[in-house]
Symmetry: C3
Subunit: 658 residues, 3 copies
């Protein structure tokens, strides 16, 4: 199977989305000149070109794209060629309104923006397949072609009648019989029993709360329906070019696609990464996305999009201070990226994203933004051969699962303040600040390689996953599990006792009397720390140690943190320092060590292959002591016993071979 390695060939891919159709062709020459100056070796083309290629139904205008790819090839720049199917031309919506999505309320989602297609529409799929076929046939042998990029940021949800029929077929295949569906959905509640398949609808606007199992299945279905769109196009291009790797770009921490399942269908896993430059935890967020994507990719991965400066979709869009783009770029490489791309090469002058930065901003080649891009390109060229294709390893896994996520976002739960993604980020932060390397894993996956496994929260856990966790602990693994885990099964049905009995036994809990969610800003005293967000009224069974008890309030004296052997249960959310302390202590017991001991605050150390990356996320310089002799590949200078990092500074250290 082709992989990112086939495109990178010992380099780090560097570049971005390139939409030259927005510019007169005389600008193109300037583009490639500046790309070469910046060390760009890969650009993504065609993402939004459907209307240029097929200006009217069935037409094909490939001339401009021929000239573009020839130009790229002539300059040795590889093309990540997109199927332009994420944004159908206006004629499609005008001619075939049934290809347009409808909201839960039945309102039509018009063209005039992007991603205005119903993933279940056969008409849309037919047009998309025909265009993909012709595109693949035409460029299969083009020397510029290095990667196929299918569609873009799949994210469209639809509640139309076509979708309803498709949803019913998907349900038919999942449940076979209506009785099984009625049982799984618990339709005895509120008189929702379905008597015929035809009665079943997507969860549309209703008078009050909707059926949570129906909502869960609709989320599963939508991820699958979008994936069908993806695999249909992937199969076409793969038929033409079995040697060219295929990807589609994920949005970061996006609930609409089960990335674990999608990743299995990709040759390259790629993601779009947009931390807020003013987010004090932006560096950790960037690290988390890297760890997550690397885990999905099971190896090197691709940053398909990041921003060289500000984005334009926040309320207030902050630029990146000098050095931050470089810091976060090299951080992604440190954590396994072999391709580092931006949206987009040249900032648009028109359209909805003209205030979204580009590598070449409105300020042009003299702009600070481009100067920094040029530096990054040069540095990637310096380190590419030593980095590309190498691995990052970790002793710790954080469990992450879409079913559990979807289940946790439903209406009518104990606390709407609990955010699955915030919990994942908070727990990951505890490890990151302790300097511990981390991966992500699926609850049902093979965990035997890890010394420690964390579960920030998995409200939904299937039987196999529960057994997997129990077996992991029985096999000597250390498990730290956050609150409200194992509450429902795969049908979103509450486990007897409110928590799976096997897990209760694992943690030494006899009875879960009540969940006590906390109000916004409220805390609950515990031995040695304050809990936030949640607490639980647990009755232990005597087999576990109460590591910390609640103090004061209604839960006074009851266990907040339980430990039974190497299984830990944390029934509240400790503050950041307390959580870091707890995880650090458990990790140490489990034999997990940080990458480098004694780092100054804000400095991150990552080992990739034979290299040691040091990244200073602080706004002040930092001195790092080193346990040996190194050379900094970026400067060529020796770093014996220590190195000085400037604000946002980075060192890429190789061992000095004797």
């Amino acid at each position: 199977m082709p992989s990112l390695h086939d495109a990178a060939r010992g380099r780090i891919l560097f570049g971005g989305d390139y939409n030259p159709e927005q510019w007169p062709e005389e600008v193109w020459a300037d583009d490639v000149r500046l790309m070469e100056e910046a060390g760009v070796n890969s650009v993504t083309v065609g993402v939004f070109s459907w209307a240029m290629i097929e200006p009217r139904p069935g037409a094909r205008e490939f001339g401009w794209l021929d000239r573009l790819l020839d130009l790229l090839a002539a300059h040795g720049i590889g093309a990540v060629l997109a199927t332009p199917t994420s944004s159908p031309p206006p004629w499609m919506g005008a001619l075939h309104p049934e290809t347009l999505p409808r909201t839960e309320d039945g309102a039509l989602v018009n063209y005039g923006s992007r991603q205005h297609f119903c993933p279940s529409s056969p008409v849309y799929r037919r047009y998309a397949a025909a265009l993909t076929e012709d595109l693949a046939a035409r460029y299969a042998d083009h020397p510029a072609l290095t990667v196929w990029h299918i569609n873009n940021e799949y994210c469209t949800h639809c509640w139309c009648d076509e979708t309803a029929g498709h949803f019913r077929r998907w349900l038919g295949s999942r449940y076979t019989t209506l009785d099984a569906l009625n049982d799984a959905w618990g339709t005895a509640f509120w008189s929702q029993r379905y008597d015929t398949w035809a009665e079943i609808l997507p969860p549309r606007r209703a008078q009050y709360m909707r059926n949570p199992a129906q909502e869960l299945d609709f989320k599963r279905f939508t991820s699958d329906a979008l994936m069908e769109c993806y695999t249909a196009e992937r199969d076409i291009v793969a038929r033409h070019t079995p040697h060219i790797p295929v990807t589609t770009n994920f949005m970061p921490l996006w609930s609409g696609q089960d990335a674990w399942a999608w990743a299995e269908q990709e040759d390259i896993v790629s993601v779009d990464v947009y931390p807020d430059p003013t987010d004090p935890h932006g560096g950790q967020y960037n690290a988390m996305l890297a760890d997550m994507t690397r885990s999905q990719a099971r190896g090197p991965w691709m940053v398909m999009e990041q921003a060289a400066g500000p984005v334009n979709w926040r309320d207030v869009n902050h630029p990146k201070p000098a050095g931050l783009n470089r810091l976060w770029s090299l951080q992604a490489v440190a954590r396994g990226a072999d391709a580092l791309c931006y949206f987009q090469w040249r900032q648009s002058r028109q359209g909805a994203e003209k205030f979204h930065s580009g590598m070449l901003s409105h300020a042009g080649e003299e702009g600070r933004t481009f100067r920094e891009v040029r530096r990054i390109g040069a540095e990637l060229a310096l380190i590419g051969a030593e980095v590309s294709g190498t691995e990052v390893t970790a002793d710790v896994a954080v469990l992450h699962d879409w079913d559990a996520w979807w289940s946790s976002t439903q209406q009518g739960r104990p606390s709407s303040l609990v955010s699955y993604t915030e919990l994942v980020q908070t727990w990951h932060r505890g490890l990151w600040e302790s300097g511990i390397s981390t991966e992500f894993a699926r609850p049902g996956g093979d965990l035997s390689a890890y010394r420690m496994v964390l579960v920030p929260q998995l409200q939904l856990l299937g039987d196999a996953a529960v057994d997997n966790l129990v077996a992991y602990v029985r096999g000597g693994g250390t498990l730290v599990c956050g609150f409200f885990t194992g509450v429902v099964d795969t049908d979103d049905r509450i486990r007897p006792g409110g928590m799976d009995a096997r897990l209760r036994e694992l943690f030494g809990i006899r009875t879960v009397h009540e969940w006590w969610p906390l109000d916004a800003g409220a805390t609950v005293g515990c031995d040695g720390f304050d809990g936030t967000l949640w607490s639980e009224e647990l009755e232990p069974d005597g087999s576990a140690e109460t590591v910390a008890a609640y103090r004061g309030g209604e839960l006074d004296g009851l266990p907040a943190v339980l430990r039974k052997g190497t299984a830990w249960y944390v029934s509240t959310l400790p503050g950041p320092e307390a959580l870091r302390g707890l995880l650090g202590r458990v990790a140490a017991d489990a034999g997990v060590r940080p990458v480098l001991e004694g780092l100054p605050p804000g400095v991150e150390a990552v080992r990739r292959g034979a290299l040691l990356f040091l990244l200073n996320h602080g706004r002040s310089p930092a001195a790092v002591e080193l346990p040996g002799r190194y050379v900094d590949l970026l400067t060529g200078e020796a770093a014996d016993g220590g190195v000085e990092l400037e604000r946002y500074g980075v060192a890429v250290l190789g061992d000095v071979r004797a």
Copy 2:
């Protein structure tokens, strides 16, 4: 006429909604075993069983219900049997989309939740009547049957075309001629004059503010249209079982149903009661709902639903601390409830309310929740014979009216910060904290039995109601009236002068120059207290005493509180302490006494029949001095001269007969 007494028969009914269709039949035996353990003597069945009974149009599946009722009868548990018409099966919406409601925007409200029926739909009504007919015929003589429960929490609003026609017929009957309607609605304003009946619509989405009289009539109509659904089903069951009392459960302080009018159509008045366990005024809120429902019932009433633990529809859903369920349950009994039921018996494992507590929670029979339920059941059995059927009396009435409420919630009023229900609760709180027993009454009702009448606010007052208030004062009654009262007539037409002339005369007001609403958080100085929310620029006519004047600001020196004989007008909202002080002083002048003098803060005393209930709403123990010798029916212990109440503790004291 049948009454709650026929079902209670000297006991307090205790139980809850029971939805065994959600469970395998083998669980039922366990249910009745635990019910017996908990002293459950009444369960509500069938509320959401339409799809079980009529799985497809016209089908009837009564077997399971036969078995269920037989089982209940065999264990001496009474059945409150519901017509399951609040949640039609999916087949109805699929087959007859015109039975589904439409929003103001014209969007369809789908099935997939509950209460998805247009109350004006003849198709829905026909199906509902047919099912009710068969249900009543089948179980008329069943020994388990004790109460009919029609539908559930009627709350559906609809703006569809069917509703439009129904609304026009309702208007035709109210106004007879279009001229009368045009006059009542003031359609000369903004060119809204209707030339034919067919032009009239429900108040749908519009460009700007809508006609307030049309909105008011639409609220009246919707309450009536829902009531037609109720009475149609009630008439059917009553024909079959004239001896069985009928009820439908109100939502607490719900604007959609004029509970005074509905209560006249019920044999039993029942209500669903869900104070927030963390609300510092939860106990007073519970007391207010009890007083309100008892007043509507004109005697003993029924808690149809309360929660043994958390609900699931708040942002953060707090459990009840140990003792609170018992405290609020006994409080309801103290204030006249002869039936104390929960939603629901066994907590659901599936569906939208699986995180809503049950009497038997996910933690099961060993859970704290069930243990407390068992205690309450036992205690109700202890006191039932002495309590059931007895009366609660009060010298004070708070006036409460749906027309006034509806009028007060319209667009384009002086201040959107003024909340009718908050005013009602705030004034009731003033009495409750003073330990004064209270009832609620209608503005046009017989007030002669009361020493004091309070009007927190009645923006709309019809002529008869105005005359009634004037006559009440002329007859020696004490009236305390809040701001912005008597402003509009029954057509929502402003009274000349901005306040009814008879009321101005009653309070000694010559001219209402302006209303001065206050911004959020702002206060206005008055003699001896600070006013909030509102103030008024009043010119007195010299016949009244200015009890307190405004001090500072634009109204400096003008009257804030006016008194003319026994008629008081309060033109602002005093802070809680000041309002309590004012009401206490006026009450004392009117000869109204608290139930018990010298109570510690947080302790409530209520007399019901011959018993004295003491309820400690505080989280610390409290000692209460008693003016005599009592025995606590719950413990059998003597309480001579005083009693000690634990946190959330309750004593039910009977006189020691010599």
Copy 3:
């Protein structure tokens, strides 16, 4: 051409909207009696009378209007006669649903409020024209008729299919070819290229951000479509009565109508003015609206609506304290108004605005509100002859432009916290607090008469406007320009470099590296002041002086305020005091003087013709020193060397002729 002068004839028009159709005819006599008492000489009739005049399609009921106009004429009260086309009768929507607007979501906007017409509907336009024709023919020679008032507060947006066709015709006329449209809209972005005109839609609900140029054109189109409705009716009445001036009333600072363009189509420019009585900057806001409307009118203008007391559409609607109505009324006259009218004469008892005040409030003729109205009427009669028709002059212009405004409100911009209207008001406030007279002007207009020109912000500037500003400075003018100006061209296309090159040259800016918007509440240190809302990373070209630099943070040392000769660029928003200081200093350098030196805070001085108005916006009395001998026209008393103003007091001073 007729003008306001023809209606005013040496007086100040005083009166309000008069809707006697809401009252029995016996009330009319009382109305005119009180009008005469209050000095009312002009009333606006017919605004919402469509359903009274045309109760069913084609009918005409003019009798009541004949009687009304005769009554007014008999009492010497002029009639501003409205075409009642802003609120079609219910029969129109019922009979012709296609005349009703649709929202972006496709939802129907129903009748039952007002302004429920699609401006593109030919059916609506046909009915409106026919009625206007008959109205004009009937009353052309009526002695009461003084002004035509077309429609009312044009503000209806519509996204229906009829609108889509109209929008396409408008676009056809703007762009001629589809290629030109595709180029102007930048449809190469996101594959939005239109292949046929028929594909083009109004910007309806979409999946993500919409095309900003399409949105901009739709705003231009809607203003034009509404203006077509206006001019069609205007042309009809003008044909009947070429000597009678025509107006339509603007809403204040309303984005929906390009008031510059509309004003060119009016004989009288009129506006509705509703400052919040509790707004600490209400007086300045009132001044700004006056300056803006006077500038649009190029001379005397008309307050078509203001409120004698509270309005009813704010969350909390505050009355006007005693004296404030008079203060703001005389302020409008000082700033050029020759007509001062209210919505409305007699406060309604019914309908959506019954809590909106009237000149004759619910309290009636003894109410404080009417007493103050009477005083104002008397005073206007005193000063009318000396004031009416005279001019107000200014040395300073603030530039204001609808295209720039519309461009600034789009999705996906650097900061959603930036409000165009707040910036305009903040800069105007700097001048107002310095006592400097101000006008408003268009960016492309003749600026040669001004010593100083301010640009609070003009994100969009066409080429001619840019050249105009450059020429103004080259010609010796002083220009002070706020941030983010000159960023896009008339197609909303970013200027190369992110800011027009001519402007960069004008201000001495080499490169705009990045825009740095600030978070809410954040500030950025600058030499001598703190900046808010925005900052910019500018690289000067060495030709300009850095008047103030940023201090601290990422922009440390970079220019915050640049000056190159008489061209100033302010790249942040200084706090109010700093902005006032800066503008005052630049004004002084430019030879601009305040109306009167040494005024106490809160006292405003305005010269109109030969008169000096002094207005005390403070709540305490103020003493003003005067540079000469005056007489106060309101009191007839001498004001030698000084005058004492009471709270909210006003003096209208004439020179004492020797």
